[in-house]
Structure formats: C-alpha cells, structure tokens
Subunit: 402 residues, 2 copies
C-alpha cells in the first residue's frame, strides 16, 4: 500500500533524555534535572482562600466554558500590573490567556510556520520551543548566545544571508533556560532594530523574569519600543503553580485576534476555574508577597549550589552565575560526553539534563543543565558530591580511550 | 518584500456565524445557539467536597505539573468504568487525558494530517473537528449522514474512488452534533470492516453518549472489535463541567505513545487540579448520580422543545427527534437561507446556529441547529414563538423575490 499512516511530523527528531533523566527516578535520587518549581513552596492556604472567593463571587460560572481569549478580569489585571514598573499598561484586547506558556509557543508555531519556514532560536535555548515549533517546520536555526545573551552580531550576519526567509526569533531575555543568562540592554535595543529592518517577529519569553535574586531585570523588549513586531509570552507556572496551566500571549490586537481563532480550534478555551483562581489569588494581594517569598527561597538554593559547585567542580567545568531563574549551565572540556556522564550520575543517584538537548544544531555535547529549583539547600552539597563521584568514574572510564 | 508574515493556515476558511449567534447576545435573548451545558446544573456542592478531598489527600502535588498523559488514577478509573456495560476494560496506558475533547481533535489532526491529506467527516458534522483538522490539511471531505447516521454505502463508494489517500474518518455515533442522530448497529460494524479493508483510522467521539433519554446507546465501535484502527475520544464537559477542560483519547498503545509526545510539545500537560478534582468527584460516586440527574433535566427540556416545535413549525420544517444529546436539526425548504433567518431571529431576541457551518461541502444552507441545553422548559415555548415570528418576517421579505 505504501500509505504513510501518520503525519511527517511524527517522525521528527526525538530524544529519550528528558524522560530518562527527569522522570524515571527513584526517591533516593537528588535531582538537578527538572525545571519544576519546588513542591513545598506552593501557597496552598492562600489558594484555598482564593477558591472560596471564586465560589462565593462567581458561583456556577466557574465551571462553564470561558471565552477563548480567557477570563476578562484576569487579562485586565495582567495588563495593568505586569509592566507597571516601566509605566506601561497593556489593554486586555492585546492579551490571550493560554494553557501555560507551552501552549503559547504551540499557538505561535501555528501562527507563523508552514513547513520549511525558518524560525530562529537562541542557542542553547528552551527545549519546549524547539519541540513546539518543530511540529510546524523542520527548519529551526540556532543563534548562539554568550554570557550577555543572544549574539546580535552573529544574528545580523545570518539575517543578511537568509533575509526574507526568516519569520520569527525566540529569546528568553531574563535568566534563560538553560543558560541562566540575561540579555544586556544594548542587545535588546539591537534586536528590536533588526526585527524592524529585516521584517521578522520576536517572541520574548518572560517565564523567569520575576524570579530575580540580586537586582531587578532590564526592561522587556515590549516596554522598549512600540514596534508591532514584538510578541511577549509569560506564565504563572514558575511564580505560582504550573498545575493551574495558565500562561499568556501579549501581541498587537490584529495578531491576538488570529491567535484566538487558532486557539478555538486547538482547545476552545483554557480552564475556567484555574483562571478565576489565579485572578482572585492575584487580586487578594497574595501574588506579590508570594513572589517575594520565592525569591528568598530560591536565592538560598542558588547560593548553596554555587558553593557546592565551587568546592567540587571549579577545575573541571566552567559556568555562569545566574542572577535569577533556576539554572546553572556547565561547560565541560570538549572531550566530555555529558549524556554518558548523566548516565553515570543516575547510577550514583543524582541527575541533570545533558545540554545537547537545548541545541538545535546538536552542538553542546559537553554541556549540562543543573537546576537547583527542587533541591533543598541541605541536600545541595550531597547531590554535587554524588555528581563529583560520577565525574571521577566517568573520567576514569573515558581516559582509557583518550 | 513579498514575504508571507503568517502561515498558510491563517488564511483558511472562517465564518462569523458562531461568534455572531452564540456569543454576542443581550440577556433578553432566548438562545438555542450554544452547545453549552446548563449553568444551573453544575454540581457545585459535590465539587466543593471533591476539592477538599484533593487537598486532604494530595496536598501540594495538586499544584505541580502532572504527567503529559494525565493523572494515573483518573486514567485507571476511566479505563475501568467507561465501557463496563460492555464488559470491556481499557488499560491506563491506552488512555491520554486532554484539554477537553477539542484538544483530542487537535492532537489527532497533528498525528494524522500533512497538508493535502484527506480526512473524512460525517456531514453535517461537528464544527470543532472541522476547525481543528483544517489547521493541518485543507482537504476535508464530508460524508453525508441520514437519520441512521453516516451513510456507509456512500462512504464505500468514496473509499473505492480515493483509496489510499484517506487517512482518517470522524463520526459521533451517539446523538451527534448537530444532527442528533444515532449510528445504527449494522453501520457501526460496516465502518469497522471498511476501515480494515481500506486502511484508514476511525475517530469516534462519545461526547454525548451518556446523555441518553429514552434507551441506552448501542455499543461504541471500540467495544465491537479489537481492530487497531479505532480511536475513541470523550470528555467530561457535557456530563460534569467544561470549565474543568478534561477529555480523553483511547487508542492502541503505540499511538498513545506518539500522542503523548505531540502533547508534550503542545502544552506539556493538562491541568493537575482539574484532573484530580474530577478523579475525586468520580471516585466519591457523584458522577453516576449526577449523570442520572442530567438525563432527567435534559429530557424535560427536549420534550418541551419538541412540543413547541410541533406546535409552530410542523408544516414549515422537518426535523429528527433526538433521543439524547442537545440538538434538534431542522431542515427548511430549499429556498431558505438559514443565515438570514438567524439574523432576523436575533432581532426578535432568539438565536440558533445556521446549519451550513457544519457542512464541509458548504451545502445545508437551508438547515438550522436548535439546541435545548441552556433554555429552561418554561422559556422553550416563548423562544420558539419568537423564532416563528422571525420566520414569518423572513418569509414575507423573501417571498417578494420568489
């Protein structure tokens, strides 16, 4: 017969690394693998109160469909508060609530990409973006980043070379996943300038922006320009709860209108109760206090991890010092295969994600993402000690071949 | 420049009919337009109790990510109970929980369709399927249905003609949307036989199957055969709450594994709290009792609507008598343009959806979907009276041209 049963996208690149190192673990493992927030930090009591408020004020409607663009009250609150620090208000019409930021990425892939279209992704870059967009085009290109974020000079060369073929670029300007970098202000301005000049859209993802530990972040791109080429996405997953699956897209109104139509075909609407819960939690003033609490808790974790890494890995690998977010990104000597190291680490009951996962180009074999979000400060040293044992074992085995 | 900013799918067919007739209404309107469940029938007290159970037994984990395939306890419960009446159990590995059945449809479009691939949809058929699948291919073909469901003779002719080009067929075997039909048992068996012979997948959607008012439904396709060509989808939207956005896909394990990978790129996972709420509601025994209550309430609505239609429209249109679900499907004389009638009806403060929306072929201009789910039995006669006034006005205007 020769008929292909499934779509082409089903045969696209896939890797077992995430499921192998993030999911399949025994309880004894100290995990630096997942990018999940700490279970113990969810504000359960305040959410309980918010739930009572939902039932008291909204009654049965909390269980009905909501509009495809999302709860109007929550959109208004996000629009009013999110960029207050930069004196910018976003009208509710320019906001669509999504099923976490992952659905925002899926909808943007749907919006922009036909098969073969080019999308650019900072490299190393967020795996969820690579996964979402490769469903729509197999033509993703990585643009390297250094310690100051995406390399805008390299980008400009690529733009000159590929010109009109590029439709969209993805960056995480603050505390990026996995690199932990912040995009410097000069480059932010340059990005906006390039997107106008070369006519492509920028998707900036603010997933970690509120989780800053040392100083406030630089302004998001959307506050730096009135360009209609900037799309901003964000999420309540890291600052409140990923289980409530609520993210958002901020875009010019003609774009949000198209996105709403795409979302209608995708899931009709996101969860009503979830959106109303978050609205009341936010409105009751719990969110700001909670973010403050998270900053303190995650800063402590970060500092413990830094100390442990300094002690054990100083002469073995290089890394950034992240000033927010969840991740250290380790660069080992070129001969290292971090996937094999991760396998050895798993045997020693600790885990991390091999950095190669975050490279569209499949470079980065010698890199590793080490997440501190789920490990208690007390266990940090023990986890890194185990990783160091794994390193010694791995090195011994490899050195036979070197 | 000439570059297309957005993907081709953005320019696909679109209609204002749903938003015009379903959403934009003043509170005085008696609406037969939406397929939404009745606000007043949500079991808020029992859900409150279920929420307490979630917090008591699952604690903080209710707010963390859940697995991409969905809460294991809920999948096990669905697998154990859904087809109990037909002595069939589905292993949890064959079930993926989704963001309502709309996401099930989106994921199946992603799974099967490259641009140009053929998908068959019963006609008239569910608009959500047309919307979801047309994002992946513009080659959807309608297969007519009559009062016994999809016409399997017509289908067989199409299959002989198009052979290998057809990848998937969509049907709602019980109380279909919008036609209200049930697929007779002989045709169910024939469908399974054809899918094996011509090597295409069947997606059967059980959205309304539990809402039967006169007798139990015939067995779902998946209980009639061990064929690996049958995919079953369903949802808690109509039997519990659409705001909790929980549906499911039942498929052979090699397919659920692919779907999980596609879902990972789409939204990582669905709402944790929502799934746990439904699990506890179900486990506490509330679901069965609630469905019984819904059957009584919607049966009363259906009977009131039938009475009102019999009185006012007997000589004007023909319709089915639905034995479950939410919909009467009216067929007017051929000269009628139901879109224009719907506009006139809106002026008379009542509404319905023009049937043309549900035809891939854009036939069905003279048809109308009348939903009784949201109208109280007391208001049914008044609504149909208004519709009759609209009819008289419309006819008068049109007869000038006839």
């Amino acid at each position: 017969m020769g008929k292909r049963n499934f779509s082409k996208r089903v045969s696209y690149r896939t890797s077992d690394a995430m499921s192998k190192f993030v999911l399949a673990q025994d309880p004894e493992t100290i995990s630096f693998a997942g990018g999940l927030p700490d279970n113990n930090l969810f504000p359960v009591e305040e959410l309980k109160h918010a739930y009572e408020e939902v039932l008291r004020t909204e009654g049965n409607l909390a269980f009905q469909y909501t509009s495809t663009c999302g709860d109007i009250k929550l959109r208004e609150l996000v629009g009013k508060n999110l960029f207050k620090r930069w004196n910018k208000t976003i009208p509710a019409d320019n906001i669509v609530l999504t099923e976490g930021s992952q659905q925002a990425l899926d909808l943007l892939g749907k919006l922009f990409l036909d098969d073969g279209d080019i999308a650019l992704i900072e490299e190393p870059g967020y795996l969820g973006t690579i996964q979402a967009w490769s469903m729509y085009s197999d033509n993703l290109i990585g643009i390297p980043q250094d310690e100051y974020g995406i390399d805008t000079d390299y980008l400009e060369e690529k733009l000159k070379e590929l010109k009109d073929l590029i439709k969209v670029l993805y960056v995480v300007p603050d505390f990026s996943n996995p690199a932990g970098t912040c995009l410097e202000i000069k480059r932010r301005l340059k990005l906006v300038e390039l997107s106008e000049k070369y006519n492509f859209y920028i998707v900036e993802d603010l997933a970690y922006s509120l989780l800053s530990y040392d100083h406030e972040t630089y302004p998001p791109l959307v506050t730096l320009s009135d360009s209609n080429k900037i799309i901003t996405i964000g999420s309540f997953s890291k600052i409140l709860s990923p289980g409530l699956r609520t993210g958002f897209i901020i875009a010019p109104k003609d774009i949000t209108q198209i996105i709403v139509r795409l979302k209608e075909g995708t899931d009709l609407c996101s969860g009503t109760l979830n959106q109303k819960l978050i609205y009341h939690f936010y409105k009751l003033g719990y969110l700001e206090k909670h973010v403050e609490k998270l900053r303190v808790a995650y800063r402590t974790k970060r500092d413990s991890l830094k100390k442990a890494l300094d002690e054990k890995f100083k002469d073995i690998a290089k890394w950034n010092f992240p000033q927010g977010g969840f991740f250290f990104f380790l660069v080992f000597p070129e001969w290292v295969d971090a996937y094999k190291l991760a396998e050895t680490a798993l045997e020693q009951k600790t885990s991390f994600v091999p950095g190669e996962e975050f490279f569209v180009s499949k470079r980065g074999k010698n890199t590793a993402r080490i997440s501190f979000s789920q490990v208690s400060p007390e266990k940090m040293a023990e986890g890194i000690k185990r990783l160091h044992i794994a390193w010694e074992l791995y090195k011994e085995k490899e050195e036979v071949f070197l």
